[in-house]
């Protein structure tokens, strides 16, 4: 479903990604972790083209991101993304947030979009808040709406960029629960996260990055039991303490 082949990226003279290669098969859940500055956010943003790259190739659902025929908007609509800071649109109601892209990109009618939105709100447990505005909701609630908004486009894969890092501790679980349900339902997911508990529960593979390079890429059980590199071991010891 998602193929990342030897992707390299430079900001001016500084190389942020060096020959990164990995893949996410349909239905797979891959967790990307690593210390800050390792380039994991940048890497995941290359998958839906929010970050450009100079070397290598990214192929999503059979389409190359650099292909001349590729319609970037159409491709993005097929891949959902959830951001660290939720990024709900504050000037639109919750239902409005869920309907905007359905109407403008998928061409659905307002009624259809709203009905679909309500179904998704039910999935994340927030039907009562349909007519509220984002700033009236807590962080955890906003992030669950953000997940629903990404799902409203019927994506074939979901990308998560540190979805719980900006949340107060007591709200992290309500978001992780939604993500676990999604994973168990068979969604193809690529998650940048520090939440190793989540990784242990539902991840199929773990990718460990450091300084723009993919250092480890293996089965979850392998990774947690026998990390191959010292950097990964160091990282795990720090993270699993909490």
């Amino acid at each position: 479903m998602i193929e990342i082949n030897r992707v390299s990226k430079w900001y001016g003279d500084f190389q942020v990604l060096t020959e990164c290669s990995t893949r996410v098969a349909k239905g797979e859940v891959v967790v990307v972790c690593g210390p800050s500055g390792s380039g994991k956010s940048t890497l995941i943003k290359t998958v839906n083209g929010l970050e450009t790259f100079q070397g290598g190739e990214v192929i999503v659902d059979g389409q190359s991101l650099r292909g001349k025929q590729t319609n970037l908007s159409r491709l993005r609509s097929k891949v959902g993304m959830v951001f660290q800071h939720f990024e709900l649109f504050p000037h639109l109601s919750i239902l409005g947030n869920l309907s905007l892209a359905q109407i403008k990109v998928l061409g659905r009618s307002e009624k259809e979009a709203a009905a679909n939105g309500l179904v998704l709100l039910e999935r994340v447990g927030l039907t009562a808040h349909a007519d509220k505005y984002p700033l009236q909701l807590s962080g955890g609630q906003q992030q669950r709406v953000a997940i629903a908004r990404a799902l409203s486009m019927d994506p074939v894969a979901m990308l998560f960029d540190e979805p719980t890092s900006a949340l107060d501790p007591e709200m992290v679980n309500e978001v992780l629960d939604v993500m676990i349900k999604l994973a168990r339902g068979g969604m193809t997911m690529m998650c940048v996260t520090h939440e190793m508990g989540f990784a242990k529960k539902v991840a199929d593979r773990v990718v460990f990055m450091d300084k723009g390079v993919i250092v480890e890429d293996e089965d979850k059980d392998e990774f947690f039991a026998h990390p191959k590199s010292s950097r990964a071991r160091e990282f795990l010891s720090k993270v699993l303490q909490n």
């Binding site: 908007s73 993005r76 609509s77 097929k78 649109f89 000037h91 905007l100």
Partner: protein, 225 residues
């Protein structure tokens, strides 16, 4: 001390009102065209196309570094040749009014562009990314996500700039156009009532702009809650 002759002021009111209409016309035209053009310039300045960004930046920088008096004189100078030909205006239109419309619109656009650009930049890249990630095109994201938020944020500044514009229309004095102020001065010269006219005009501007400023403050108090 001075004696204010209310009788003279009252008798001058019809003419003064005609002048006030001119002031309001210029304000309205410059406001509407200025904001539309300003939005365009702001987006061009922020666009990834270097030549377009440079053109927009040059425009804004130039208009913000020359006195409005000079801009008015410029357009009054070149108006006869260009405006009538370009805009196909009827030959009996007052060239001064037409040149004032153009001068103020282009001048204000530079100021609105900066206000709107600051507003757009305050919205933050995350919102742009969120819109693009959903599959909206850049223009759709700007139209439905960025601009509504940007305009909401800078509305008090836009209104404040409009109040400044209303006051600036009095500078059409330098091209002899009979707006509210020039009309008052003309009447004062004609009737020898200069002092009454100037004080009356000052009081009117003070009242109108004072009320508008108070409204802006209320607006700001409401939105900051």
């Amino acid at each position: 001390m001075i004696q204010i002759s209310w009788h003279d002021i009252l008798s001058a009111l019809p003419a003064l009102w005609r002048g006030a209409i001119v002031s309001l016309q210029i304000t309205l035209v410059a406001l509407i065209v200025g904001i539309i053009l300003g939005c365009l310039l702001a987006l061009l300045r922020l666009s990834s196309s270097k030549p377009l960004a440079m053109v927009a930046t040059a425009y804004v920088t130039i208009f913000r570094s020359i006195p409005l008096v000079m801009v008015l004189l410029w357009f009054y100078l070149i108006a006869p040749q260009f405006l009538k030909a370009l805009l196909h205006l009827p030959p009996n239109i007052d060239v001064r009014l037409a040149s004032a419309f153009v001068a103020f619109s282009l001048f204000e656009a530079a100021y609105y562009a900066e206000i709107i650009r600051a507003g757009i930049q305050s919205v933050g890249r995350g919102q742009l990314n969120a819109g693009l990630a959903l599959g909206l095109s850049y223009l759709q994201t700007v139209q439905f996500v960025i601009l509504p938020q940007a305009i909401r944020v800078v509305t008090p500044l836009l209104v404040t700039q409009a109040i400044i514009l209303l006051q600036d229309t009095s500078l059409v004095y330098v091209i002899g156009l009979a707006d509210f102020f020039r009309m008052a001065v003309n009447i004062g010269d004609r009737d020898g009532t200069t002092i009454d006219m100037i004080l009356f005009v000052g009081a009117c501007y003070f009242a109108v702009c004072g009320i508008l400023s108070a409204i802006v403050k209320l607006l700001q108090a409401k939105t900051s809650r």
